[in-house]
């Protein structure tokens, strides 16, 4: 039966084929160099190596019957939620800036997970303000300010 130990290398081989097709499209250097290898050499060697390793992994799976990874779902509901949270936070931070985005996101996360302890909310807000103070006021590192400032 085809499992992820086979599908994964096959996907990577397909990806490598796309990359291999992109390599000849690199521009020519403006000044010709007296070099035996050019800009295409290293990526080509890497991709060919990657394809060879993927083939070896498939062969290893069928010939040596290597222990397969447990057949759990690759992405669980919680990790998918985490990913959505990450992306939403990144979008929010670029729109309204660090402080507001972090306060909304942290609070929203705790509400979503039905956290009832007030202490957790206090810790969350203190953390957000502490990071803001440390970065912006102590180290003078600018944090995302959003589009409206």
């Amino acid at each position: 039966m085809l499992n992820r130990e086979v599908i994964f290398p096959v996907i990577l081989i397909a990806f490598s084929a796309v990359v291999l097709a992109l390599i000849p499209q690199f521009q020519m250097p403006l000044y010709s160099q007296d070099a035996s290898v050019g800009a295409k050499f290293f990526p080509t060697v890497i991709i060919l190596g990657q394809i060879a390793i993927c083939i070896a992994l498939i062969v290893q799976h069928f010939v040596k019957k290597v222990e397969t990874t447990e057949a759990k779902a690759i992405v669980s509901k919680m990790s998918l939620l985490g990913l959505v949270f990450l992306v939403l936070y990144a979008v929010l931070i670029s729109v309204v800036g660090y402080l507001i985005a972090s306060l909304i996101s942290f609070t929203g996360y705790l509400v979503f997970l039905k956290v009832k302890k007030p202490l957790y909310y206090i810790v969350a807000w203190v953390f957000v303000f502490a990071i803001y103070y440390l970065f912006a006021k102590v180290f003078f590192i600018s944090l995302p300010e959003g589009m409206f400032y």
Binding site: F26, G38, I46, K72, M78, S79, G82, I131, L143
Partner: protein
């Protein structure tokens, strides 16, 4: 020399310098522990504060930040699997495994002691043989750098504990990522797709944050509502006498290796930590313990990265050549203070040079004290409930990724690599080789092509240059010994299933 050194120690303990040094080390530890803020960034951030200071105090503070920053990165690496700096990425492998076993205090104390050994040895070597080391480092040219990078890349086989092929596959992914951007020799754009942010290549710090911190947050989220394992009870036990005996030989060896690597311009603490880790694993009696919470593994990585602190100052102070990014910022600090780094500095301003040396000795002692006394405080982090810790890791990761270049593009890179690291972990593909390849890939490519230009297309530099040949033989030996070890492990497994 000794009278200057004693004079330097008097300066280091003077009421004007000691508080500044203390502030520098503690500030460095805090900065290093925050993901995205490297020791380089810490030194750069505090540089403007030194403009009005007296030269010795100014340089001492920056060096304090450097020493503290390299150590501080390991705190987050050990406790949260979120390396504060690239130099502490190798410490995740065994440090975080110890934390998972409830031995965070033990891991942190091993890290503090090993860092102290690394920093102190490195400083002593710096004082004793700085000019000699500088001459050795000057013999490094493109072929030697290529061979060093090649040797470093063989670590990939060693880091991949379960399946070498999967480790190598991760290595090729990292190498491919390292080719994105302008070609280092001809400036031809590669895989940039017209996106300006990609022209300068993919920055290693967002990748590091993504692969280790974000992917870990996603993994922890999956286990959020699962009951914790019974064996992960937390204890505050520090390292035992047995641990100390086990780690001392490895720590001293790694400290010396780190100093040598640091003295070579271009090879920083991140490379040193991985090279020392690999070497410790290669010669260990029980290499299978590496990655599972090995005392030697953690000590090697920590002594290796702190060993660089003294080494990187060798070319700076003796030749005026900055060996790495931190040394470049320090070079700026020296110039701002009206000093000219190089051989003349030793004859014209010996009190400053030996003031720096002595402060490094004292700075390492302060780092050890801060590290050991702060363990109880640092460990409180592990007691923070997971439900709060996950968003904290995510926020620190996003802010850290943004802070490097004030760029949302880097945030996107961190998220992308976070997802990649998470998916690869499901396939038992390790993340460390990707990072290692991104760090070493450009060094390998650039110097291979420079070597070929130097030798007019001939590959003879691989065997004509003694230092390069020595590294290549070491690389071959490293791969051979790793493969032999894997073969033995497989045989043992089949005999005792």
């Amino acid at each position: 020399m000794f009278e200057y050194l004693i004079g330097g120690l008097a300066t280091a303990f003077s009421p004007t310098v000691l508080p500044v040094l203390l502030f520098g080390v503690v500030g460095g530890v805090v900065l290093g522990a925050l993901p995205g803020l490297t020791a380089t960034m810490g030194v750069a951030i505090l540089l403007p504060f030194t403009f009005g200071m007296e030269p010795t105090a100014a340089l001492v503070m920056l060096i304090g930040v450097y020493i503290g920053g390299i150590y501080g990165g390991s705190i987050a690496a050990i406790l949260l699997k979120t390396p504060g700096t690239p130099a502490s990425a190798a410490s995740v492998l065994d440090g975080y495994s110890m934390t998972l076993k409830g031995q965070a205090a033990r891991a942190l104390s091993i890290s503090a002691v090993a860092s102290f050994i690394g920093g102190l040895t490195s400083t002593i070597v710096l004082i004793a043989i700085a000019p000699m080391l500088a001459k050795f480092a000057l013999r490094f040219n493109a072929p030697e750098y290529f061979a060093l990078a090649l040797f470093g890349l063989t670590i990939i086989a060693s880091v991949a504990s379960k399946n070498i092929l999967k480790g190598l596959l991760a290595g090729t992914i990292g190498l491919l990522v390292s080719t994105v951007g302008l070609d280092p020799v001809t400036s031809v754009p590669r895989f940039t797709f017209g996106i300006m942010d990609l022209y300068s290549g993919i920055n290693v710090i967002p990748v590091l944050i993504g692969l280790f911190a974000i992917s870990e947050a996603l993994t922890q989220l999956e286990h959020l509502f699962l009951k914790a394992k019974a064996n992960s009870e937390f204890n505050y036990k520090l390292l035992s006498l047995k641990d100390l005996k086990t780690m001392l030989p490895t720590a001293f060896k790694s400290a010396l290796m780190g100093t040598s690597i640091g003295s070579v311009p271009g090879a920083g603490a991140d490379i040193s930590a991985f090279v020392c880790y690999n070497e410790a694993k290669r010669v260990a009696k029980n290499p299978d313990e590496f990655g599972q919470g090995s005392v030697q593994g953690l000590a090697a990585a920590e002594a290796g990265n702190n060993g660089v602190t003294g080494g990187s100052l060798v070319p700076l102070l003796t030749l005026g050549v900055p060996g790495d990014a931190v040394a470049a910022v320090l070079l700026g600090a020296l110039i701002i203070q009206g000093l000219t780094p190089g051989p003349l500095l030793f004859s014209q301003n010996p009190e400053i040079v030996y003031g720096i040396f002595s402060s490094m000795l004292v700075g390492n002692i302060i780092m050890l004290l801060v590290g050991l006394l702060g363990i109880r405080f640092f460990c409180k982090i592990t007691e923070v409930p997971k439900i709060l810790m996950i968003p904290i890791i995510i926020f620190l990761s996003i802010v850290g990724a943004y802070a490097i270049n004030n760029s949302m593009f880097d945030v996107g890179i961190a998220i992308g690599f976070g997802v990649l690291g998470f998916l690869l972990s499901k396939m038992d593909v390790p993340s460390s080789p990707i990072l290692l390849a991104i760090i070493l890939g450009p060094m390998a490519e650039q110097n291979l092509r420079k070597s070929l230009l130097m030798f007019e297309g001939s590959w003879s530099f691989l065997y004509e240059r003694p230092i390069a040949l020595a590294f290549i033989l070491l690389a071959v030996f490293s791969v051979y010994s790793t493969m032999r070890r894997h073969k033995k492990a497989r045989q043992a497994e089949s005999e005792n299933p």
